[in-house]
């Protein structure tokens, strides 16, 4: 195991006493800021009292340690948030503040009632928008508010969801105002993100503050996810056990961790558009078992991108034909396509009217005051008060970001106003609200920070259910303005605390069959995920082989016995061939062989060079990221460690190769061995595991062949021969076995037997081939009724037979002849392996053809 796994926080008892003595945790809020904690008379409100007292008891030192521990757990779980604009950095750990946001249960009851009503309202609104549009006729909503918004997808007219609700998930971002009431800033109705992070935050908090959490009587959030799962199940148009998938954008998705986390928790396969296809009027997932019919899609891709046939034609994240399948009721998409229209901020201006028309009363929950520039009076107001307002485009995908007028120069304000005047329909101005402040742990003390709460509601049979709590985001300074996931603001867990112990509400009316964490092996895997596991196995093995050889070569080159020029050349050539970094040392001039350090360093560190250790490990990490949802927490931890070791590799090698460079590589080798061990010990023997093993065994067999071919090159001189044999045995990790057995029968023949034929050596060639045969037999669809072998079985059988029939003694009889015979044998086996690899890849991996738009019809072509 690598070091990072074993580090842990200091025992709490050691520091607790001291910390308490040195610095108490006080919390005060400067005058003028909206304060959530203190009552008007300066006393601490009851719901905060217990928390602040408990934190005070812990003291800053302990709180600091707990926060670090929380951060470590988040990192180990792989909780990341990829910020917009940053392409491939997978290492932005989600930030969680140690102090939860507390909401008392009476207070929450009012908020919850408002949210339930709001979800119902938006549901009715959605139904009207894609149905009769009576709101326009009754004058509750100007037609332009609908027609000028790009989120109004005309192709979705008339599509209905089964059951009482069109809107399945509703999220609202809100802040608390000075008078204590909540005010909604915006609604999220496309594919609200954050529910997965909430779950992760809650898990971490309950682990890091077990007694505080237990004694605070926090309302559980698990039932929200059960309700979501249940609702998705009831949406299924098929009578069979429904296949529900979570559709995401894939690799670059900003919230990829959360989707993987949520998919695992809900027991749903995580898919990307390429994993799905429409065929014969239904939606299918390309899985290892062939095509699996999909009944329900939990959507995390914006609706306008979901179908390049009818929606945005340039979308690469869509499934061609999806909308038509949904229209015909053969798949249900949640939230439904078209629901993005509800995010139009213009609706906030007319919400009281809309609510009166649809519910017969004004909404309980207030919305931020919104001015729509298409309204003449509003436009005048916005023009005159732009400094005080936040100017927002009505459509989020418009490429324009919202901006606070006060932050703009006079010129910028003029330009913005000119843009608004050109397209007044496309802009709103919104009041800039003061946000209430809550305590946050920063610089070893409790500091007030402005907060935004995102809440989540899910449709149930007859109504909605609101998650008790939600995602709290905080600004980075008191009075701060910008708070959003995109700007990377830290998060908080949100605790709705009960005055009395909570009744257990989860168990009501949820059939056992719908409990989460179903049998993992029953969930189909998309082909893409399996392919990534295969490559993860291959890259990990390739990196390990390269590292092992490099270590060996370093030891040999720097050993006390000088080695011959010829042996040096062969060793260095082996490095080039095993890593695949040609030309490198192949046919290199003598000068390079005498001064190999620079090239060797490049083979390790140069990420731009295909085949270098860094490049191979990066590929391995990318493949791991693509199949993240299948990796255990421990595996995730080892992968994080590998990432860290890779990051610190340059520092470790900064002194060049002068002194014990093999030391710098040890942590990486250890990490890879740990990874490989975890694959054996903690992965379910499902299809995914089989493919990872296949990848690993194919790669290892190829590496053995390459290494053998080079290190059995005939050389002159016993010393050189011994050097190469030792190098071979060290690289293959069998030197000790060799030495033990060599007492009876030393020599190269024994070495070759160990490396090639010994079925008990997990690094022998025969071992790899036999393992491949076993895994192949276990793959789905391999139970063939006919006695005839499949092509890939044939390839393996031929390789095994050829190897077993080889007579090592004869191969080695005369050096000049034998090595060429050895070469023949290795070449044949390698060819069979390559063939095997191609067959597996063709048969099981997805080779999609590129989709393109049908060329548009031309006009006036006079024939």
């Amino acid at each position: 195991m690598s070091q990072a796994i074993t580090t842990s926080a200091l025992p709490q008892s050691q520091t607790q006493g001291q910390a308490q003595a040195t610095k108490p945790l006080n919390y005060s809020v400067p005058a003028g800021l909206v304060d959530e904690v203190h009552a008007a008379d300066g006393s601490i409100k009851p719901q905060w009292a217990y928390l602040l007292a408990s934190l005070g008891d812990l003291g800053p030192q302990v709180l600091q340690e707990r926060e670090e521990k929380a951060q470590r757990i988040l990192r180990d779980d792989g909780a990341t948030y990829n910020l917009h604009g940053e392409d491939v950095s997978p290492s932005n750990t989600w930030e969680l503040d140690a102090v939860p946001y507390i909401i008392g249960s009476d207070d929450w009851a009012r908020i919850e009632a408002g949210l339930l009503e709001r979800a119902e309202l938006f549901n009715l609104l959605l139904r009207d928008i894609y149905g009769p549009r009576t709101l326009l006729r009754h004058g509750a909503l100007p037609p332009e508010a609908l027609f000028s918004h790009s989120g109004f997808l005309r192709a979705c007219q008339g599509i209905r969801m089964p059951g009482d609700h069109e809107l399945i998930l509703h999220a609202a971002d809100m802040v608390r105002r000075r008078d204590g009431s909540m005010c909604v800033l915006s609604d999220r109705t496309q594919a609200p993100s954050g529910a997965g992070y909430v779950l992760e935050n809650r898990t971490v908090m309950s682990r890091v503050f077990p007694s505080l959490y237990r004694d605070s009587h926090v309302h559980r959030i698990a039932s929200f996810y059960q309700r979501l799962r249940l609702k998705l199940t009831t949406l299924s148009p098929s009578d069979d056990l429904p296949c529900i998938v979570l559709l995401t954008q894939g690799g670059r998705d900003e919230a990829r961790f959360e989707y993987a986390y949520l998919a695992n928790y809900l027991g749903l396969p995580l898919v990307q558009s390429g994993d799905l296809m429409v065929r014969n009027g239904f939606l299918w997932m390309k899985s290892m078992e062939g095509l699996t019919r999909v009944d329900v899609v939990l959507r995390r891709v914006d609706d306008s991108l979901c179908d390049p046939v009818e929606l945005r034609s340039n979308s690469r994240m869509g499934v061609p034909g999806l909308l038509e399948v949904a229209r015909n009721g053969r798949v249900v998409i949640a939230n439904p396509l078209g629901s993005g229209i509800l995010e139009n901020p213009v609706l906030l201006k007319y919400l009281p009217e809309i609510s009166k028309a649809l519910l017969g009363r004004e909404p309980r929950l207030a919305s931020v005051k919104t001015y729509w520039c298409a309204d003449e009076d509003d436009l005048r107001f916005v023009s005159a008060n732009i400094q005080q307002l936040i100017i927002k485009p009505i459509y989020r995908g418009s490429g324009i970001t919202s901006v606070w007028g006060g932050s703009l120069s006079a010129d910028q304000q003029r330009n913005l106003l000119a843009t608004i005047h050109r397209t007044p329909h496309q802009f709103v101005g919104q009041e800039r609200l003061e946000k209430s402040h809550i305590p946050t742990f920063s610089d070893m003390s409790l500091q007030p920070r402005p907060a935004i709460l995102r809440t989540f509601s899910v449709a149930t049979d007859s109504s909605y259910m609101v998650m008790p709590g939600g995602m709290t985001r905080i600004g980075d300074s008191p009075g701060g303005l910008a708070i959003s996931m995109q700007s990377g603001s830290p998060s908080k867990d949100t605790w709705v605390t009960a005055t009395e112990p909570e009744r257990n509400v989860e168990s009501e009316a949820i059939p056992e069959a719908l409990r989460m964490h179903g049998d993992a092996s029953l969930v189909s895997l998309p082909s893409r995920v399996v392919e990534n596991l295969y490559w993860m196995g291959r890259y990990a093995e390739r990196a390990e082989a390269g590292l092992r050889l490099l270590r060996t070569v370093f030891v040999q080159l720097n050993g006390e016995e000088p080695i011959s020029t010829e042996a040096t050349r062969i060793l260095l050539e082996a490095v080039t061939r095993v890593t695949g970094t040609q030309p490198g040392f192949i046919k290199a001039p003598a000068s390079l062989l005498e001064e190999p350090d620079e090239e060797l360093l490049k083979v390790i560190q140069d990420g731009t060079r295909v085949g270098s250790i860094r490049s191979t490990l990066n590929s391995m990490l990318t493949s791991a990221e693509e199949s993240k949802e299948l990796l255990s927490t421990d595996t995730q931890r080892v992968i994080n460690d590998l990432q860290d070791e890779l990051d610190s590799l340059d520092a470790a090698l900064s002194g060049g190769l002068a002194s014990a460079p093999e030391e710098a590589l040890d942590p990486l080798v250890t990490g890879l061995v740990a990874l490989s061990g975890l694959m054996q010990e903690s992965m379910v023997r499902g299809v995914g595991w089989r493919f990872m093993e296949l990848g690993k065994r194919v790669e290892r067999a190829e590496q053995i062949i390459t290494t053998l071919r080079i290190l059995t090159t005939p050389v002159a001189g016993e010393a050189a021969k011994a050097t190469l044999l030792t190098a071979l045995l060290t690289t293959m990790d069998v030197l000790i076995t060799y030495r033990r057995r060599a007492r009876q029968r030393p020599g190269i023949a024994l070495g070759l037997e160990l490396v090639m034929l010994d079925p008990s050596n997990p690094r022998s060639l025969l071992f790899q081939l036999e393992r491949l045969q076993q895994h192949l037999a276990e793959l789905p669809g391999s139970e063939s009724n006919s006695g005839e072998l499949e092509e890939e079985e044939r390839a393996l059988l031929a390789a095994v037979t050829r190897l077993k029939l080889a007579r090592l003694a004869q191969l080695l009889e005369k050096e000049t002849r034998t090595t060429s015979t050895m070469g023949d044998l290795l070449q044949e086996i390698e060819k069979l392996l390559l063939h095997f690899n191609t067959l597996i890849s063709d048969k099981h991996f997805d080779h999609r053809t590129e989709a393109q738009q049908l060329v548009a019809t031309t006009f006036g072509t006079v024939s």
Partner: protein
């Protein structure tokens, strides 16, 4: 008047298409002045799924999915359409004035009017602009009837712009069409819609066909052998009225409507996604519109 329409869309691909998802707007819709009596669509190769439905705009849309490999796709739509023989030589000087129409447009409560307001707004291919308004303005005076204003604009577009199939593509921006004063029926229709919206008049893009063979002694109309496009504007008192800027005429008995939309993108005759196909597919479109003898059912 009764017409038989045959509209063939033929794609030849450079490489095999493994499967495809398409939708076609090739079925004449019903309007105030026409009724589609019969329609049959044949697609080769045979689709695995087909579905006919009415879309958001009331057009008839035909969806199909093909799951067998092919290098050619042929969509043949056969329709029979009856068109009112209403006298279209209406007096241009009678009716609602432009000024009155603008005023009426701000009213509420009238369903047709509320629905028409959708066609005042920018759409994916048509953005209102000062340039379009400036071009159109000389035709519009508040005291003049809206009909004669639009007629005048139609004539000016017909006179000022030259019909040039080589100049524009589907993607040519409206500003370029206006600057170079050339294009095809689609461009002229977009241009006129843009002009009308820029001056506060709701306008639709109309896709359809016109009669192939001219009446004896008359010239063949431009755009007769392919799909055609023209415009419809909204007059609060008279409803939707169609004009054809490519032929400088009101849309009459020779104009058969397939679909209405905000612009071309809403009513594209055939669109979709293909898998494979290589580059530069060849597209051939042929349209044949012939009169059916008044007797029904017609002979042969």
């Amino acid at each position: 008047m009764r017409y038989r329409v045959r509209h063939i869309t033929h794609y030849k691909y450079a490489a095999r298409v493994s499967h495809c998802y398409n939708l076609a707007n090739v079925i004449p819709r019903d309007t105030g002045r026409q009724r589609c009596l019969k329609n049959r669509i044949t697609v080769t190769p045979t689709p695995s799924v087909t579905h006919k439905r009415t879309d958001y705009f009331g057009n008839k849309t035909y969806h199909f999915e093909i799951q067998r490999p092919h290098t050619e796709l042929v969509i043949t739509a056969d329709s029979e359409v009856e068109i009112n023989d209403r006298d279209l030589e209406m007096n241009l000087d009678l009716g609602e004035t432009y000024g009155h129409a603008l005023q009426a447009m701000t009213g509420t409560g009238n369903r047709a009017l509320i629905d028409a307001r959708e066609f005042l707004l920018n759409s994916p291919m048509i953005e209102c602009s000062d340039a379009l308004a400036d071009y159109a303005r000389p035709s519009f005076r508040p005291e003049r009837t809206l009909r004669s204003c639009v007629h005048d604009l139609t004539t000016r577009i017909f006179t000022d712009f030259s019909y040039d199939p080589g100049f524009t593509t589907i993607a040519t921006p409206l500003a370029d069409v206006l600057a170079h004063k050339r294009g095809v029926c689609q461009d002229f229709a977009h241009l006129q819609v843009g002009c009308l919206r820029s001056l506060g008049i709701p306008a639709k893009y109309v896709s359809g066909y016109i009669e192939t063979l001219p009446e004896p002694g008359k010239q063949k109309l431009v755009g007769a052998d392919a799909t055609h496009a023209w415009v419809a504007y909204f007059c609060p008192e008279e409803g939707w009225v169609e004009f054809d800027p490519t032929n400088n005429t009101m849309a009459g008995t020779q104009h058969i409507v397939t679909a209405f939309g905000r612009d071309y993108l809403d009513v594209t005759p055939v669109k979709g996604v293909i898998f494979g196909g290589g580059s530069a597919p060849i597209l051939q479109v042929s349209v044949d519109v012939s009169r059916v003898a008044d007797a029904w059912p017609p002979a042969a």
